[in-house]
Each structure stands twice: as C-alpha cells, then as structure tokens.
Amino acid sequence: MDDLTFRKRIYANPHDNAQDIIDACNDDKAKAKFKCEMKQFDAKLNNALNIKVPDNFAERILLSQSMAPQRVANKRTKVYLALAASILFCVGVVSTRMGLGNSFDTVGEYALAHNEAEIIHVHDDNNYTLQQINTKLSGYGAEFINDYPQVSFAGTCYFARIKSLHMVIQGDKYPVTVFLIPKESGLEETKHFSDQNYNGESITVNNNQLLIITHKDDPNKNWSKELSKSIKWKTV
C-alpha cells in the first residue's frame, strides 16, 4: 500500500484493522509507528471529549418519563407500577408520603409530587448566566430583569406531558421550586396548594402558569411577589 493511501486510511480511522492495513504495518515499521502514534492521538482526543455529565442524569430522564404518562395512564397505572417498580419508585414514594392515588387531577397535586420526586435528583451546583436562564425563559415569553434570584437549576421537565420549565431558586434557608407551564396542561388549576412540607401558589400570566413552591419553614413569605417583580413578560 502506498504511503499516502495508508496515511489517509489511518487518519480517517486509526483503529482500522483491515487485513491490508495489518500487512502494510508488518511490511513497513514506519507505517506501524505512524499507526501507533495516531492511536495515541485518538486516545487524547477521546479524553478531551469526555465531558462531565450532570449528576443523576439517567435517573432524571427515567423520572421524567415515569411522570409523563400519569394522567393518560390513570387506571392502568397500578399495573404499570407493579411491572416497572424500579423506574417508578420515586412516584411510589411520593404517593405513599402524600397519601395520593397514582394520578393527579390538579396542577397543585402534580407540582408537589413532581417537586418531591425530582428535588433529590436536581443538582444544585450550577452557575447559570442571566443569558442562559433567559434563553430558557424566552420559550415561555418571559425574562428575568434586574434583581433576579440566584438560580441553582433550570431545566426542561414534562409536566403532564407538556414541556415545561423547572427551576430551583437558591433561598437563604430553603430552595424554592418554580414551574413554568403552558396553560394547556389539561390539569385543573389551583391557586393555593400544600402538603405537610411545602406550600404552593399558582399565578397565571399570559398563557402560562407560574407555580411557586416554598418550604413551610421558609421565613421568606414573599417569594411569589419577589418573583413576579423579577420576571418581565412579553405582551401577547
């Protein structure tokens, strides 16, 4: 094999082990050395591409799928639960703790269940720039303006199959969970909701619902007011 063809083949795939490549390496030490160097280069490349994956990433994906079919599956959910206990364990825990059935009729019930199930999977060490947060918010016609709060997590979640934004805001004592949901979630609205640990409030703006969930012991009782001031809504 001529040198140019050999180099082209190895550049395209340093791990090419076709017979003609093996033969060429056996016949010519320089070619074997070149292949070895390119394999080392590829190992460096591999190393450089090894980006850190967010903590509990797979768990969060599984969770968003397990939360998604809740309303649709309704009666069959028990069967699914039994069959897929490993995936749905979070939902199971939430249901037991809240004494709920496995389906949610109101936005509030769903939000509290989602909050409790997901809060353990949310990694809170993110440093988002205002621009990054606003890119996410812009999909809902919203943006943070001055004095915006410290966001420790912002990601898409599927709220009763509707693509929504899930944010966790760093409070002084307790984190605050915020869901921004397009109105067509199909779940009944509730202005105020709570369970034994959390209080929730729903604000409707434009075609979205802003759900704010705070811990019952959080000394700051003005989160919804403060957030309403920090968010500017595009007129629709």
Binding site: K8, L45, A48, K52, L62, S64, Q65, A68, Y80, G155
Partner: protein, 184 residues
C-alpha cells in the same frame, strides 16, 4: 391456546418495554449528552435535547427492532430534535458564543491544558468535519454507520474524518514543538 396466553403477553410486553427503555437510558444517556454538547455547544440545551430524545424514543420504542442499532437510532432522533429546534423558534435562540469550550472531567493539570487546547481546536472545526469525528470518537460508530446517520456517501465520511484529524494534528503540532523551547 394462543388466546389463552395473550393477556400475559400484553403485560409482558409492557414490562419488556420498561426494561428495554431503562437499559437504553442507562447505557446511552451519557454518550448522547456528550454528543449533544458538541452538537449544539450548550450544556443546558444538550440536557433538554437528550430528555426530548428519550421521550420520543419511549413513544416509538416498538419501531426499534434491532437492539444493536439502538445507539444509531437514538443519535438520529437527537439530531432530528436539534434540527427542529431551529425550525421552531429561531427568533428565540440566543447566539452561543463561538468560543464556548465545555469542561471535561477533571484530570491532572498538564493533561488539562492539553485537553483544553484540543477542545478549542475541535470547536474550531467546521461542523461538517466535527460531526463525523464526534460520531466516531464519542459514539464509536463505524464509517458505514456514520454514513447511515448523516445520510452521506461512505467515501465522503472517510474523507471528512481524514480532514478533521489532519486539521487537528496540524493545529496542535506547532504547539508541541514550541512547548519544549518555552519550558526550557
């Protein structure tokens, strides 16, 4: 006989679907995320893309007949989702800085410098060269598989892979030569 077994088969298929899905998420979510970050150059968008990808995968899991093709199938869904992002809300997208370089897993400092340099050079590659390289290195796909995913002729794929590595090598080699002089 057939009817007798049918109900059992229905629940079994649901169970099988869940197991299959969970296995896919566990096996491929990390690679899809890494690929997604290099594709859209924003870790937050990449996270959403992977979530969307798996949600779509769940809905059409029945169409995946060959388990061995699962990774290529997922990558294809992810690329489609990424393309939809541009169709949907072009006006909402904020330009991602061209200089964005993702962080990698922390390693020793010398290795870290080299990694940073490499990542910058990878980032500077034209997307048509970068994408097949990502599919090969992160995805572990063969030339044939890449040509299937990108819907390109295999020779084109191999030429792009050759050019991608060639450009990276050329960009890095002067640095390697000078490093000794500077340090000495």
């Amino acid at each position: 006989m057939g009817n007798f077994f049918r109900p059992a088969r229905v629940s079994l298929s649901m169970k099988t679907k869940q197991i299959k899905y969970e296995a896919l998420v566990r096996a491929y979510s990390d690679d899809l995320y890494r690929y997604g970050v290099w594709l859209c150059r924003d870790p937050n968008i990449a996270e959403d893309l992977v979530q969307e990808t798996f949600l779509r995968a769940w809905r059409s899991l029945e169409s995946l007949k060959d388990q061995g093709a699962a990774k290529a199938w997922l990558i294809t869904i992810l690329r489609r989702e990424n393309a939809r992002r541009f169709e949907r809300k072009q006006f909402d997208l904020v330009d991602i800085e061209d200089s964005y370089v993702p962080d990698t897993i922390s390693v020793g400092s010398e290795q870290e410098v080299e990694n940073y340099l490499l990542r910058r050079k990878i980032n500077e590659l034209e997307p048509e060269y970068r994408e097949p390289l990502m599919l090969q290195v992160i995805g572990g796909f063969s030339g044939e598989e890449i040509s299937g995913i990108l819907e390109l002729n295999k020779n084109t794929v191999m030429t792009r892979l050759f050019r991608a590595r060639n450009q990276l090598k050329e960009a890095l080699e002067p640095q390697e030569q000078y490093r000794g002089i500077e340090n000495g």
